[in-house]
Amino acid sequence: MKEKVYNFKTIFKFSLRIVSREWKKFILPFLSLTFTTLIVFTVLLFTNSSSMFLEDKNKELIGGDISIESNYELDDKSLGDILGQDIKVIDKSSQYDFSGILTKGDLNTPVSLSVVDNSYPVYGGLSIEGSTYVTPKEDEIYIDKNAQTKLDVSVGEDIIYANKNYKVIGIIEKDSKSLLSGFNFLPQVLISKEGFNRASIDKSLLRAEYTYTYIIEDTSKDNLTKIIDREEMRGVSVDIAGISEPGFVEGLSLVEQFLVLAVLLSCILAAVNIYAGMLYLLTIMRKSFAVLLAIGFEKKKLGLTLSLSLFYILILSTLLGGGLSLIIFNFIREYIFLNFDLELPLVDLLIPTILTLFVVFSISFASFIPSLRSLMRLNPKILLSGGQEPKEKNVFGNFIIITLSTLIPLVLIAIFLLESFLYGLISIFAIIAIYVLLAVLFYYLILTLYKKRSKFKFLTRTLISYKYKDGLFGIVSLTSLYVALTSLSLLILLQSTLTTFIQKDLGERLPTVYIVDIQKSQTESIKENFKDVTLFPNVGARILFIDDRDIQKGIALADGSVSREFGREYNLTYREDLLPNEKVVKGKWLSGEVNEVSVEKEFAERADIVMGSRVVFSIQGFEVEATVTSIRESDSRSGLPFFYFVFNPKDLEKYPATFFGYNYLDGLEKNNFTKFLAQNFPNISIIDTAEITKFAEGLIGGLLVIIFVISIPPLVLALFLIVTLIISSFEGRRKQSAQMMALGAKKKFIERLYYLETISTTLFSGVLGYLTAILGTLFIARYYFKIESTSLYNVELLIALGAIILFVVILAKVLWKSDKKPLRELLSYEER
C-alpha cells in the first residue's frame, strides 16, 4: 500500500514537473485540443439548436409529429392500427377538407372548407389577422383574404354556407401547412365540427380529405419509422415530422442531414487534429522521456506520468474550449436574431457536453496510446546517444491499428448521429477505406520515386529521401492533410449544392401567381395577351381498370384488395412537352400515337402500373383506354403543377376541361395581369402566392444562415490542422536542415527544399482532396440528400484552396524567418 502511494506521488510529482517545465512544448497540443473542443462543442450546440428550430418548422408544416391523411374517414381502431400500440399520444386533432360554395348577397365563391375539432391546431402554424386563433363556435367561421375579397365581407359580417348563416370572426393570414402539399387553389375557410353539423350535410356524399394530426411522446426515428410500414397497407398517407419529405419539408430535412454531416466531418477533423497534436508532442518530447527512462524510471510509470500530464492538458483545454464555445454560441445566436430575424432555440447542454467530452477524450486516448507504444519500444541509449534503432516493423499493420483505434470513437458518434448502426458503420468505414487507400497509394508512390531517385537533381532527391524516411509519420501527416482538405472541399461543395438547390429549385421555381377556373374558350385570349403564362387542362376522370383489375368493383367490395385511394376522381391533363420538373425514367415520352399515357413514377408503384399496362378511365361516361408508354419522375417540391396522368392533346381535347395556370410576374406586371383578368374574365380566380412566398423566403433565408454558420467551424478546424501539420513538419526538419548546412548547403537550398516539401504536399493533398470531394458530393447528393443537381465546380472553393496554398506559403515563410536559432544550437553537439 505504502509503495503504491509512493508510486502515485512520484507519478504526480513528475507529471506536474513535465507540464510546468516543458510547458512550451505543450502549447501546440493544448491549443489543438482547446480549439477542437471549441469547434466540436460549438458545432454540436448549433446543430442541436438548428435541429430544434428545423423540427419546429417541420412540425409547423406538417401540423404535428405525425399527420395521417386519407380519402375516407378512419375510425379509432384503424387509426390505432396505423399508429401501433407502442406510440403514446399526447395530443391529437382531426379535420376534413372538401370544397363548397359560400355566398353573401349576390356574390358567391367556391372555397376549400376545413372542418376542425377543438384541439386544432395541435402544433402552431395558424395566424389570424389582428387576433389569435380560437376554435370557432357553431355559427362562426374563419375565412382567408382571397375569400374576403371574393365575397367583399368584413369581420363581424355574416356569410352563408348551405343555407346557414356564419359570422366571420377572423381573417386567416397564414397557414403554414399550405406549403406542405403543393398549393390550395381555392380560397380557404375554417369552421368547427359543430358548425359543420349545423349545416346538416351528409358527409358521405362529400369528396373529402381526412387529416389526423398527433403529438406523441417518443419522437425517436425508430419509433416513427414503424408507422411508415403499416400505413402502406391501407392506402393512407402518413407524414412524419423529420422523416417524411412532402413538398417544402424536404428542404428542411436536407438541412438537418447536412448538419449531421457537418458534425461528422468536424469529428473526423477533430480526430486527425488531436492525433497530429499527440504525435507532435511525443516527437518533441522523445529526449525528455528518454532521460527519465535512463535515470531508472520504469516504462509503466513513465506511461502513467505522460498520461497524467496529458490529462491536465485535456482538462484545461476542454474547460477553456467549452467556455469559449458557449460565449461564441450566444454571440452568434444573438447576431443571427438581430440580423436575420431567426431565433435559434437555447439547448440543453448535457448531450452536447457529453458528446464533446467523449469525442475529445476518447480520440486523445486512442491516438495517444499507439504513439506512446512506439515511443516505449525505443531504448533510452538510442534516444540519447543515437545507437542502432530497431527497424520499424510492419508499418502498415501499425498504420491500420492507429487508424482503427482513432476511428472507433468516430464510428460510435456516427451511429449516434445517424441513428443507425449500419449507416454509422458504413459511413465511417467508407472514410477509413479512402484514408487507407490514399495511404497505400502514397506509400507506393514514394517507394517508386525513392527507387528511381538517382535520376533526379539533388534537391528533389533529398526531398524524396526525406519523404521515404518519414515512414509512418509521413503517411499519417499526408493523409491527415488530405482528410482536412477533403473535408473542407466536401463541405463547401455540399453547402454550395444545397444552397443552389434551396435557392433555385425550392425558391425560384415557385410561381408568383396561380389562376384557376379558366374555360377552354378563354385560354387563347389569355395566351395572346400574356405569352409567358403556362396553362394546363384538367379533365376529370375515374379509373375503371388497371390491366385486369376492376378498380371500382374492388373498392365497392371493400375487401382491401384495392386501395380506396384509386377510387377518387383524378385530373388528367394533356400536353406535348415535359415540364422542367419532370424526367422520363422508363420508356419514351409521348410520341403522338393514339391513347398513350405517361404515368408518374410513385403513383405507378403504388398502383402496380408498369410499362405497357392498360388503364381504362371513365370521362363524362365515356370509356377511354390508354397504354402506359412512359413512367415519369416529377419533382413535387417546386410548387409547379403535378399530374399523375399525361396524355397526347389529340386524345383528350374532345372532352370538357377547365384550365389552370401559373406565371412569374412582379409588381406592375402582376397588377396588369390581375386587371386584365378581372375586366375580361371575372370568373377566373387569381391566387397571389406573395404571403406563402414570404414565408418560404423567410424559411429559405433561415436555412441558408444555418448552413453557413455550421460550415464555418469545421473549415477553421481544417485550417488549424494544416497549421499543426506544417509546424510539426517544420520542427521535424530543423535538425536535418542544420546538418545539411553544416555540410555546406546554402540557406537558399534549405529554404527551397522546405517550400518544395510544404507546397507539394499541400498541392498533392488539395488536388486529391478536391477530386474525392467531387465523388463524395455526387454520392451524398444522389443517395443521401436525394437531389439531382450538384454543384461540383465552385469558384469559391477553388479560391479557398488557392488561399490555403498561399496561407501555407506565408506560414512556412513566417516560420522560416522567425527561426533565429544559431546553427550551433540546432546541432545537438552543443545543446544549451
Binding site: 546517444s385 543515437g386 545507437g387 542502432q388 534503432e389 527497424k391 538517382s454 539533388f458 532527391r461 533529398t462 529521401s465 526525406y466 521515404y468 524516411k469 518519414d470 536535418q736 546538418q739 545539411m740 548546412m741 553544416a742 555540410l743 555546406g744 548547403a745 546554402k746 540557406k747 537558399k748 537550398f749 544559431p822 546553427l823 550551433r824 546541432l827 545537438s828 553537439y829 552543443e830 544549451r832
Partner: protein, 235 residues
C-alpha cells in the same frame, strides 16, 4: 600571417547572454595553427572547447576578435559564404555523428559533393565508393544511420569529412560516444587517413591519451588557450 599558417585566431572573445547575465567563455585569445598540423584542444567540461570548434567551423560568430583561415577572415563572411567555406575549406566530425537520417551511408558521404554541385555523377560515385572501401563499409553503403552501430556511424562521418577534400578537419570528441575499443579503432582510422592526405586536424578531446597522439596540445583554461609541451606518441 606566416605562409605556413593555415588558421590564425586573434584576440578572440566569445560570450553568451544567458538570462541577461553575460557568460564569457574566452577572451583575448590568440592561436596559430600550421598547415598539416594535428592539434588537440583539451580542457575541463564547460571550458569552451566545442564553442571554439564551432567558431572555427563557421557555425557561430565570435563576440570580438578575428579568425583567419587560409588568409581569409571568416567571422565577417555572409551566411552563404560560410556555407561555401564549410563545404570547401573545412570538414566537421561531430561527437554525435550528425548523419542525415534520411540518407543512407553512400548518400551521407556523397552529400558534400552533391551540395558543391561541380562533380559529375560518375565522379561522385567513384570518390564515395573509394572512401567506403577505405573505411571498411563497402557492404553498408545502402544502410541508413539508424541501422548502423556507433562505430560504423563515426566511420561514415569520417568518410564524409574526407569526401570534400577540405584542407582542415575539425573533430569534436570523435570517439566520445564510442566504447574504448571501437573509439581506438575509429581514431586510428582518422589519423591514418589525415596523415595519408596531409590534412590539418583539430581535435577536441578530454582524453589525454588521444591528445598525446597529436603534434600539439592546447589547453583551454581560465578563458584562454595555453600550449602544453609534450612528446608525440606514435599511433
Amino acid at each position: 600571417m606566416d605562409k605556413n599558417t593555415i588558421i590564425e585566431i586573434k584576440n578572440l572573445k566569445k560570450e553568451f547572454n544567458d538570462n541577461d547575465t553575460p557568460l564569457v567563455i574566452f577572451e583575448d585569445t590568440s592561436l596559430q595553427i600550421k598547415d598539416g598540423e594535428k592539434v588537440a584542444i583539451v580542457g575541463a567540461s564547460g571550458s569552451g572547447k566545442s564553442t571554439l570548434l564551432s567558431l572555427l567551423a563557421g557555425l557561430d560568430r565570435p563576440t570580438e576578435g578575428e579568425i583567419h583561415v587560409k588568409n581569409r577572415m571568416i567571422n565577417t563572411l555572409s551566411l552563404d559564404e560560410l556555407s561555401e567555406y564549410r563545404n570547401k575549406q573545412v570538414s566537421i566530425i561531430f561527437q554525435s555523428f550528425e548523419l542525415v537520417s534520411p540518407f543512407n551511408s553512400f548518400e551521407n558521404i556523397s552529400a558534400p559533393l552533391d551540395i558543391r554541385g561541380t562533380f559529375t555523377a560518375k565522379d561522385i560515385e567513384d570518390i564515395t565508393n573509394t572512401l567506403l572501401q577505405e573505411v571498411g563499409l563497402k557492404d553498408r553503403a545502402h544502410s541508413f544511420p539508424s541501422t548502423l552501430s556507433g562505430g560504423e556511424r563515426q566511420r561514415v562521418a569520417i568518410a564524409r569529412a574526407l569526401a570534400s577534400n577540405a584542407d582542415i578537419i575539425l573533430a569534436d570528441e570523435p570517439t566520445g560516444s564510442l566504447d574504448g575499443k571501437t573509439g581506438g579503432r575509429v581514431l586510428d582510422l582518422l589519423l591514418r587517413e589525415v596523415d595519408k592526405r596531409g590534412k590539418t586536424l583539430i581535435i577536441i578531446t578530454h582524453d589525454m591519451n588521444i591528445a598525446e597522439k597529436m603534434d600539439r596540445i592546447i589547453e583551454l583554461k581560465d578563458k584562454n588557450l595555453h600550449e602544453i609541451k609534450h612528446e608525440r606518441k606514435s599511433v
